[in-house]
């Protein structure tokens, strides 16, 4: 029995380590490339040696250049602002609508829910052209509103909230009604406190969507002032002389910010999806 366990764990670790290498190699590669000069980078690529991955001369030049020469702080701040507003507005509107779908019976409920679900199956990429026309008619091209408002109502986030709220026993809500609580109180005092995990999950999903968004900001936020991080990154590639080390450094930053948010909250993230997934 004990021997079996050891063998089993041995194979589990082998699997884990192989996948870790496959997962992490491009990231290490990216990190290493961001810490060396372009010339050094190309010098050691082939044949494969330890210096392919480990820089000979460590340099932070590309990171410094990124912030001094290319003003990379601006897109970072822009994207954080856009993400933050999207999270607050997205959580609020979607959770309130989900509350209605989960706890009420009303006419056309299935149809209305269906409309939200359809929207979840139609990503922004596919409707970007007509959407651009709408946003342009509203005068929102090159504004934060153009980046934020169209993304607020989200089928996915609404779906998560609805699944989660369905698990809240109706008897609790009924008891609160009998005690004379109004719906705002029920939402704030019963629903919200028992749904922290799903709010964290929704926030992470919204953040990741905004942070990694590419085509939509490319169309709607072209001016340097409100440029988001992915566009700033791709502009390194688009310019004739590609600045590889800066691109790698920017990629590292682009990866580290969501990571910094995900690591401390991942427990909630898993819990949030867990509780909204299976039951209900």
């Amino acid at each position: 029995m004990n021997k079996n366990m050891i063998i089993k764990n041995f194979f589990i670790y082998i699997g884990l380590i192989i996948i870790t290498i496959l997962t992490i190699f491009p990231l290490l590669w990216c990190l290493s490339a961001s810490l060396r000069s372009d010339t050094e980078f190309y010098k050691y690529v082939t044949p494969f040696s330890i210096n392919t991955l480990v820089p000979v001369d460590f340099t932070m030049d590309s990171y410094i250049k990124l912030f001094t020469k290319f003003n990379f702080a601006r897109p970072i701040i822009n994207t954080i602002f856009v993400s933050f507003v999207s999270i607050v507005a997205g959580c609020l509107l979607n959770s309130i609508a989900a509350f209605a779908f989960a706890c009420f019976k009303f006419k056309f409920k299935e149809v209305l829910f269906g409309i939200f679900l359809v929207s979840f199956m139609v990503p922004f990429e596919s409707i970007s052209l007509p959407l651009y026309k709408v946003v342009s008619n509203l005068g929102w091209v090159n504004t934060y509103a153009g980046l934020i408002v169209p993304t607020i109502a989200s089928g996915l986030v609404l779906f998560l909230f609805t699944q989660f709220f369905k698990d809240i026993p109706p008897s609790i809500i009924e008891a609160a009604r009998v005690d004379g609580a109004n719906w705002t109180q029920i939402f704030l005092k019963i629903i919200l406190p028992s749904s922290v995990t799903v709010f964290v999950t929704a926030s992470l999903i919204i953040f990741m969507d905004q942070w990694n968004s590419y085509l939509w900001p490319l169309l709607v936020a072209r001016s340097k002032e409100i440029q988001t991080i992915q566009i700033a990154l791709s502009s390194f590639k688009m310019e004739r002389v590609t600045l590889w080390s800066c691109l790698y450094a920017g990629s590292m930053i682009s990866a580290l910010v969501p990571l910094g948010l995900f690591l401390p909250t991942q427990k909630y993230f898993v819990q949030g999806i867990t509780s909204s997934g299976v039951k209900g």
Binding site: V122, V270, V278
Partner: protein, 285 residues
């Protein structure tokens, strides 16, 4: 419960209204507008755009490429995600760290993933080729090869996407009562049988969600094509979504682009409906 809530007829509608208005203006209207644009030429209703499109060999080739990549990529991603979820659901030491590592690529944008992989897969002086060199494998063309480019994109998208779906499936697994596994063990069911006949039916809801979400994302995947291959070489990575993008932004043929997007949305709707049907039928059985 019905009576209890019956008194507040308008209330649920008020709760839904803000989100609903946004969905109508920024999702439903653009979808309908896409449909209309594909059906109107100079203000009159016509099927000309579709007729031209369906006679176009490029469209059919592109449809074939789209099917080819998705038939491989969707099941592959979900299979790997499922295996990863089973793996990180074990209770060996340090499993939390591994789970986090597997999720890392998700936090990276597809744009960045594509750019980094493109350089790693470069035929001259790419690091993957120099690694293959250790094993005596000759230099491969990867993204500039007609036969390999599409599968390289599958690799990039899978590397980036699998951790995301793993998290959802893992969440489902965590919800399964451990005592169910214990009783299966007592009944003498082996590991594979337990997974197929107990685990999968129990996390069906999560799997359905993962299938539907994964399908719509992958069928519309086009960032790697837009950044690296431009649909080539020789149209081998020219998926419909990229063809639509090209029609709109490079050929300024918006009706054609709208018609292609409409076709794509219909395909997604059909596939997702099938998935819903299949999964919910099993539930009743």
């Amino acid at each position: 419960m019905n009576n209890m809530f019956g008194k507040f007829k308008a209330l649920p509608y008020i709760f839904i209204l803000p989100a609903f208005l946004l969905i109508i203006v920024f999702k439903i209207y653009p979808i309908i507008s896409t449909l209309l644009e594909s059906l109107m030429v100079k203000g009159t209703f016509t099927l000309d755009t579709y007729e031209t499109l369906f006679k176009d060999k490029i469209f059919w080739k592109s449809l074939w490429v789209t099917m080819k990549i998705n038939i491989v990529m969707i099941p592959l991603q979900i299979f790997i995600a499922f295996c990863l979820a089973l793996l990180v659901n074990t209770t060996v030491k340090g499993i939390g760290m591994f789970r986090t590592i597997f999720y890392l690529p998700v936090t990276i944008s597809l744009t960045v993933a594509t750019i980094v992989w493109n350089l790693m897969l470069s035929p001259n002086g790419g690091v993957i080729n120099s690694i293959l060199g250790i094993f005596g494998i000759s230099q491969q063309d990867f993204l500039v090869s007609k036969t390999q480019a599409l599968w390289c994109i599958v690799l990039i998208a899978t590397w980036k996407g699998v951790g995301y779906w793993m998290m959802f499936i893992l969440a489902g697994l965590k919800n399964v009562d451990a005592s169910i596994y214990e009783s299966a063990k007592i009944d003498g069911a082996n590991w594979l049988k337990t997974v197929v006949s107990i685990t999968i039916p129990l996390i069906k809801k999560v799997l359905l969600f993962v299938f539907v979400a994964n399908t719509s994302i992958n069928i519309l995947l086009f960032v790697p094509m837009q950044i690296v291959t431009q649909g080539g070489p020789e149209g081998s990575t020219n998926v419909l979504m990229y063809e639509a993008y090209k029609s709109a932004f490079k050929m300024a043929d918006r009706p054609r682009s709208a018609a292609i997007v409409t076709v794509l949305l219909v395909i997604i709707a059909i596939v997702c409906t099938l998935q819903f049907r299949l999964m919910s039928e099993k539930k009743e059985a």
